[in-house]
């Protein structure tokens, strides 16, 4: 069977208020993904639309987006795993191509969060938990990750200052990302001095709700070679689902869904953590990036903070992570985020990164988490 590659990758500008409708938002990412490819919309055999449905008035957005991008009558359908929806979309696209059902599949992720106030958005997001047993407590992502932070602090002595250093790094790179919501460098003092959101997490420990879209064009290997000069190969895929309830979790010091997904992806790719040249991890909160270092084996459990202390996750370090600014700078338009992370790694492996290029990067990893650690997706790409 043929291998599967990414031929094109695009995203819209991520912003607090995009001022356009979801179909218009998706077109921006689609347009960028198709730029320079030797195909037209007619060559796309299927489209997978990814978002978290709670934010939209529109139900069943797949048909709508498909029509607006003029992809009809090719099949279009919806995939959802909250914040990791578009990574799950990529997994489905890979399977469809690998199975021989389609040659070229577009994975389009989007979210327009600005139609709701942040407290309304929090309430809707809470319904991404268990609506009988936990949502009625008002439990949402920030509070859930705050408890992971507390548990990590209690077990390993992790400090608020160490968490803040993740934001210092990501804000440094985000400052030069033209697609990011926040393009301002933040100092350690500014981060530590920002107001508390949910203890111990402060405003600058948290990513922001945003509007945005992403698009990944997945193609059968031989087709990809024909339509782009530099296909990026999908060599590892991992996915896992942990309990919906936080009460059901074995531990709060790491995300089991990420550990499992990482293991699968490394095994499929036949490589280990030491072979990764550059990574995008799901830093919805500063603690999430530290958990990712450990869950992915970049550091041993409890030693993740060493990587940020020693600046090893900067672009010139041993293990560059989120050198496009991460979710913390880019903002987090739920359904679009995974595709945006994939796009960054595609740019890195092609040597076209606009923020900070990791020299000679050949293998990249994307870690994309849905909910409070419910859905884990890890994708490994090679030039």
């Amino acid at each position: 069977m043929e291998d599967v590659a990414i031929a094109g990758a695009g995203q819209s500008v991520f912003s607090r208020k995009c001022g356009v409708s979801i179909r218009e938002l998706c077109f921006e990412a689609f347009k960028e993904a198709m730029e320079g490819l030797d195909i037209t919309g007619d060559d796309i055999d299927a489209s997978i639309i990814c978002s978290a449905p709670e934010y939209d008035k529109q139900r069943s957005p797949a048909g709508l987006i498909s029509e607006y991008l003029e992809l009809t009558p090719k099949p279009s359908f919806y995939v959802e795993t909250v914040c990791s929806s578009s990574s799950t979309g990529l997994r489905v696209a890979w399977s469809l191509v690998k199975a021989g059902l389609h040659r070229v599949v577009a994975v389009i992720g989007f979210q327009k969060m600005s139609e709701l106030t942040s407290r309304e958005a929090a309430e809707r997001m809470g319904r991404g938990g268990d609506i009988i047993w936990e949502s009625p407590f008002g439990l949402t992502m920030p509070a859930g990750y705050a408890m992971y932070a507390r548990a990590h602090m209690a077990k390993y002595g992790t400090t608020e200052e160490q968490l803040a250093k993740v934001r210092v790094k990501n804000s440094h790179y985000g400052a030069s990302n033209p697609k990011a919501t926040y393009r301002k460098e933040l100092s350690l003092d500014e981060i530590l001095g920002s107001e508390v959101v949910t203890s111990p997490l402060k405003k600058f420990d948290c990513c922001a709700n945003a509007d945005g879209s992403s698009c990944i064009i997945v193609a059968r290997g031989d087709v990809a070679k024909g339509i782009t000069d530099v296909p990026i190969w999908i060599i590892g895929l991992g996915a896992a689902t942990d309990t919906m309830t936080m009460s059901g979790r074995e531990s709060l010091t790491g995300l089991r869904c990420a550990q499992e997904a990482g293991k699968q992806a490394y095994q499929m790719a036949g490589i280990g953590a030491q072979d990764i040249d550059v990574a995008e991890v799901h830093d919805c909160f500063t603690i999430s990036e530290i958990l990712a270092y450990e869950d992915l084996g970049f550091a041993k459990p409890g030693e993740g903070v060493g990587l940020i202390e020693e600046k090893q996750t900067y672009a010139d370090g041993k293990m560059p992570v989120n050198v496009d600014g991460g979710l913390l700078s880019k903002g987090h338009p739920i359904g679009a985020t995974g595709g945006s992370q994939i796009r960054t790694i595609v740019h890195q492996l092609r040597g076209q990164a606009t923020e900070a290029q990791v020299k000679g990067a050949e293998i990249g990893l994307v870690h994309n988490i849905g909910g409070i650690g419910q859905y884990g997706n890890v994708t490994i790409l090679r030039r």
Binding site: R119, M125, P136, F137, G138, A154, S199
Partner: protein
């Protein structure tokens, strides 16, 4: 009261916006949990065949598929292991501070719950907390055009009061 911009919602019960579960027996098979909660009991199901005690309660044992289950009491007091006080951007329908805690209920059972009746800055890791049951808005059940209200309770934990012991 009319909802601005959405006049059709006047007098309607928008069930998908309801914060609390459909507790009435017409809508689920664990309604006994809520009946017990009214008696200030925190309960779940135990499998009479294999002895498995999952939480949340089940209608079929997930370990051995037996339907022969009985209701058993869980501890109503526990110790706070970890907690967070959410003070900004709390979800609609909740007030700040919105406190969540990982509670050790003993015998290896941990539970994540909201903590109520507690001011910001008061709670500490290691504090004892106890079950708190409170009324929540009734659910509207419509049968053949007739609307009836089904009373509901929900629960959280609160700091233990020495005098209650």
């Amino acid at each position: 009261m009319p909802v601005p911009g959405i006049p059709i919602l006047e007098g309607k019960y928008p069930s998908t916006m309801d914060l609390y579960p459909l507790e009435a027996k017409e809508f689920n098979r664990v309604h006994q949990f809520y009946e017990n909660l009214r008696q200030k009991r925190f309960t779940t199901t135990k499998c009479k065949k294999c002895g498995h005690v999952p939480f949340p309660p089940r209608v079929v044992c997930p370990e051995c598929n037996s339907e022969d289950l009985e209701w058993v009491d869980l501890p109503t007091r526990g110790k706070v292991l970890r907690f967070t006080e959410e003070v900004a951007g709390v979800p609609l329908g909740f007030d700040s501070p919105l406190i969540h805690a990982l509670i050790d209920l003993g015998d290896g059972r941990k539970f994540v719950s909201r903590i109520i009746n507690c001011k910001e800055g008061e709670l500490k890791e290691g504090d004892e907390v106890q079950l708190a049951v409170f009324d929540v808005p009734p659910m509207i059940i419509e049968k053949k055009g007739v609307m009836t209200e089904a009373e509901r309770v929900f629960f959280a934990f609160e700091p233990s009061k020495a005098e209650v012991k």
